[in-house]
Symmetry: D2
Subunit: 354 residues, 4 copies
């Protein structure tokens, strides 16, 4: 039986590169040979025991690769096609998907919270030589020849998520937008705000490297929360509060600051993953009377989303390669986790080559 190398999670701080059985494609499935993947902040949470997955699972959810095998029912593809697959793999055929809420896919049944996220969560993931793709017809996005693996790998999750922060905020031409936290997702939210026509984009962080990258990704102004009263400064710059605030970290402080940065009628677009209780001070949104909206978004997926995002890259509107600061072979993925977790060395995202 054919074998492959994969990064298997065994428990807190315990991941191991192992030889495991290579997957085969069932009905409506495909197998891809992974050529490039990366590590997500969520993978760090898994490694640290903060997000529970089943021991023995291969983790990772951002695959670029080449089609190796196609199951029955998958048409219009050929073995050898180079494809990008989203971190979220909707079935396209359940109640949630047919309602347009692909990320809450119920896999044939109704809605399932975060149900669209399966790779490295409920099924084997992308930090491996081969990957089984469910609902392949809906999830294999062919990569145009002129785009490299490195140019597209971040579209699978962080760019799709970051841009969605701008999209869910319904940013309009002439809007002022403040983005809290300029990690990889926040940087992509900043780029998304610019893509949609915001004309005053304020990036907030406390890391010089990330503030510099924020300007590169589209921020008009960056604010260092170590140095200034961020809320007061946003209100001054925007003449009373931002039209849209994007939260991209997942803490009480960034959430509350985002809410307090809004003008009446403004929208808080939340991308962070929260734990514990989130508090909404009643004065932060005028006791519920300021016509504010709070919108949460999970990374959009599916092949059409990937196709659109590849068009963004192909057009030259956004270049994500500066975020890919380091590269490791799959065998050394433990080192990659260590670097990524430490935030040393200006690391933003690491590429994993297989």
């Amino acid at each position: 039986m054919a074998k492959m190398k994969a990064n298997v999670f065994y428990g807190k701080n315990d991941i191991r590169i192992e030889e495991v059985e290579r997957p085969r494609a069932g009905v409506d499935e495909a197998i891809i040979r992974v050529t490039l993947t990366t590590i997500c902040g969520t993978d760090l949470h898994i490694l640290r025991g903060e997000y529970p997955v089943k021991p023995g699972l291969i983790i990772g959810h951002e695959p670029v690769g080449v089609i190796e095998e196609l199951g029955a029912g998958v048409t219009g593809y050929a073995v050898g096609d180079r494809v990008l697959v989203g971190a979220i793999t909707p079935c396209g055929q359940c109640r949630a998907c047919l309602s347009g809420q692909l990320s809450q896919c119920g896999h044939g049944e109704g809605y399932e919270a975060i149900g669209g996220w399966r790779f490295g969560n409920t099924i084997n993931g992308a930090q491996a030589e081969y990957l089984r793709v469910p609902h392949a017809q809906a999830n294999l996005a062919k990569i145009p020849d002129e785009l490299s693996d490195e140019q597209v790998v971040l579209l699978s999750d962080i760019a799709s998520t970051g841009f969605s922060g701008a999209e869910s905020g319904h940013i309009r031409i002439g809007d002022s937008v403040v983005v809290f936290a300029q990690g990889p997702i926040g940087l992509c939210a900043t780029a998304g705000a610019k893509l949609m026509g915001a004309t005053l984009i304020i990036g907030i962080d406390g890391d010089d490297n990330r503030l510099a990258m924020s300007k590169r990704m589209g921020a008009d102004v960056v604010l260092d929360y170590r140095a200034v009263d961020v809320i007061a400064e946003v209100k001054r710059l925007t003449g009373g509060g931002a039209d849209v605030a994007i939260e991209s970290l997942g803490t009480q402080q960034t959430f509350e600051s985002a809410l307090r940065s809004l003008r009446p009628g403004g929208t808080l677009s939340s991308l962070g993953v929260y734990s514990g209780k989130l508090e909404i001070p009643y004065d932060a949104f005028a006791a519920g009377l300021a016509d504010n909206r709070i919108v949460t978004t999970l990374c959009p997926g599916g092949k059409e989303r990937m196709r659109r995002l590849m068009e963004v890259v192909r057009s030259g509107r956004v270049d994500l390669t500066p975020l890919l600061t380091h590269t490791f072979p799959l065998e050394k993925i433990a080192d990659a986790y260590e670097l990524f977790g430490s935030r040393r060395d200006g690391v933003l995202k690491v590429a994993i080559k297989t």
Copy 2:
């Protein structure tokens, strides 16, 4: 090899009930035993040679039935389940479907105009004892026990289409809405306008029977175009023009009258199937400067749409059975076509029992 009875189209004015081979389910498909179906205006166009389909095709596209066989890849259903299937059978997994435009489904590829309509158009249809359902996972909607076949059969096409006229018009609480033509689809558009909160609904037709039914389906006022200047009267009743005009016939006259009935900024929601050249007199929409919208909609399909529409019926908000004026067995479908085409006898829709 198993046989079944079916209504096969051979050419202009030539349909025949024949014994043909019973279909079998391939991957991602299902076979249903049809228990109730109906005849659509489009079927009349086919019979009259006005809409081209391939000779030898079984026609009809509004099936209620019982699952007989399930192909590989279809889960969550059992043989014997009673199901409603929409006239439009999206795959859920192509570019169009993943963009939420299920009716323009490309079947795994990109967009295809009217591509969601396959039954009795590009594949065998529902006027038969058995029917093969493509993309079954996305298209089999279980019927709640408390609903009869008769209560749900019109949801497959005309109610889904009619309601969509109201939905695409973005009707809001307090809107005035005028619906041109009160045939089956126009009557459902009238019901849809009421469902969405329109508070002045004007039904227009030239047939007493249909005008009476229009009131029953929700019209506040009905106008007989044989007796009054419809546009002037709509302007008077609405204080300057309707917020939304729904066209449900497909002629130059109804289209143009709908456009002329609008207030500045109003929306024309078009459901009709047009032939020839449609003319837009420049004065009818202020030379393009009145902020008008013209929206066309093809019947929405897929199992989630069917589920929602069955909820409308189950809640008692709308009762469609008064539209089902006559019943015929499949063997006598030629008589049913004749009656339906003649508009004799107060016929609105005919039920076909198999």
Copy 3:
């Protein structure tokens, strides 16, 4: 100098009917002789010292009356016209108003949180014989002859607010909606959900009288939180969670229950006025990953909103008079406050005649 009677707030539990100076109309203003008004829950908060207004202010914000005087710049009206004025009186000409956010009106400048609410808050209110209406051109809505004062007075605030809960929730045909609390606003939210095409409306309260009225206003099912586990029951009835939950009380418990009642991707439409810290348990919205939306809405105002709501009443779609359970003359308004505050005697809303 002309005098009038008015209900003046002096401090906690201290309101007095007094003779005060009658107002005169300045530029862009109008004076109306109030013929009918009512008491809002917010007025109770003022009386109890829970919402601060300046001592000496005439309170009340729901006026029906007759135009007595028109200031310069107000056209298209005549003295003697019977008018309804919204609780919210937008200027129509500031940044907020021109952006369509009339309730956050900045009165000529930018946005001001809750700035559209002026009557009985920052300027003299409606519990008086005469009332000065600011920005009169935008706020005087002529009452059709066939509608009585009693039929329209509740449109000024609670019906506009309640319906907005349904509108901000973007309810669609076939949605399931749960409404937490069936006081006057919750009852109007229930009616609004029905108006927009929800097909399963669940009204929640702990008062038999209000649960009975909930059914009358459109609830398909009512749940008594004293008797059942409301969240579990909503999930059972809706097959996994409501599409939209409307909060109409303003407490942690109703807010949190509303959030927990949603399906993934569902919308919480919040109408309540909150105090203290509101908590969002991270598990109630899947750590921010369930594509949920929380939308807050302040009562929409302006004459066009009032016109639309009067159309709802005129059409017979909704009858609000059952909510007007008691009537008092202005002189006895203290008794009316006492009854309204006590919730005795099945009171829902009280009419104040001047």
Copy 4:
């Protein structure tokens, strides 16, 4: 009585610079001393007798100036403030304005088609030394000090119109957009498409100068209709049809080509001013079954719109000064009309200095 110079229309091909009475500000009005204005294509239509205005009217509708006088009821401004005023001057207080349809303003009453356009149409316009601004509170937009008159004058009409073509088309990140005609409005539509995140923008014209400018304003590809089959090429480049087509000329040919360039489900956003009958070939939108939308838009106005557009310029996202190819003093406006009408000399827009 004070006098001023103004460009007065007397009849076909008859405009004259004359000494006329200077206007004074009534209630809710302001007078501005015009410092810069321009000539619109619509002014050419007036001069050529193709659009009727009353003889004796001062024409022009794109004013930049300094406040000279403020009428009663106008607050928050001071004489001497430098302001931009939109071509469209909504009242903010009628049914249309309060519904958000400012361009169809009824001036205190209901909707009036194109009612928001008053300058140089129904009241005296901007090609004069002084201009009376109606509904001044809603229409005076202060110009930030760092922006010159030249940088903002085109925002009054053509940029607001052009961008609205993109906005009404609901362009999304990753969309393909084709813009028919690259005159001043089409060039701004091109810039608007880029601002909103379109990633394939195709500019179409038959003039080398305009095609070159199209690239400068944001087109990824330009097509010369003299050289290629435009529809076929758009279909090839977009893989089946554009998501959005913007029509910015107002002819049967551009309208029809725009419609034929769309994918199923695509949107035609129409900015042109049409005359005669417009024809919609039924095959161009699949007989009304392709889920297409046709949206027409009149230039959005009001001070908030102007503020937003000035933010676009201030941010550096768009620079409109390359479109301002020539400058004339008011006295020589006849020469400016002649040049602008002739399209000689690479003229795109002319600045008129007073």
